[in-house]
Assembly symmetry: C2
Homo-oligomer: 131 residues x 2
Amino acid sequence: MNIGQAAKASGVSAKMIRHYESVGLLPPASRSDAGYRQYGDKDVRTLQFIRRSRDLGFSIEEIRGLVGLWQDRTRPSREVKALARQHLDFLDRKLAELQSMKYALAHLVSCCHGDERPDCPILENLAGERT
Amino acid sequence: MNIGQAAKASGVSAKMIRHYESVGLLPPASRSDAGYRQYGDKDVRTLQFIRRSRDLGFSIEEIRGLVGLWQDRTRPSREVKALARQHLDFLDRKLAELQSMKYALAHLVSCCHGDERPDCPILENLAGERT
DNA sequence: CCTTGACCTTCCCACTGTTGGAAGCTCCAT
DNA sequence: ATGGAGCTTCCAACAGTGGGAAGGTCAAGG
């Protein structure tokens, strides 16, 4: 299977497959006589694992850890759970950050009449004048 | 006022002040005889405006627009509100994305017993096995 | 056999925003 | 005059992804 096929089958772009290989997240793929990367079902499964991990927002480094644990049949699930919890905390912090941005901005937007007049509470707030 | 003073006064690092100038978000600062950038109260107010905008998650390009509108005394507040709404939509999309990640991952974490045993619903899910 | 188009290769660059560092200059106080 | 803090510019890195150029390969069809 060439890289394009593996990309379609896994949902990871060919660009990213090469990138993951270059950063060592994937072992170097075997090559055809012409130098084309060759993939098998096992590789596609690994790529899908990576894609699902990315869909959950895990970083490359975290995924490196997850793949390692995945391939170690004797890992304690405790370790996996710890890694997942850590990422969950990260998501919570990000969510809180975005949510406070959202509420602050939503308030300002609701205060702005949004017509042809130039006075605008949004700009006034950004400029530091208390609204 | 040197760049370090302006940085302290505005809450924007000296590094970032130079960067904002280099990308044209700030006009080139005037220079002392020795080539040091000189800032006044007006510049500090602009920097604070930029910092508050970044605190709300606006991108550099969006801030470029906001600063332009801010400095145009005759802008209709409609335009500011449109820009803000657009960013609000962006925040909503990001929030929804993170939230779905969070719920999916939280579910998996709650399913994993997290002890010394190797079987783990988190890895099984990432591997594509239905849980 | 040759051409064409789709696919592959490597390499470099772009983007988001921010930080760090190196080499060298300036300013101020001791 | 010397040291340290602060300034200058330039270059690189981070994460992750996409775009593109220049060139090799493969299969189909004339």
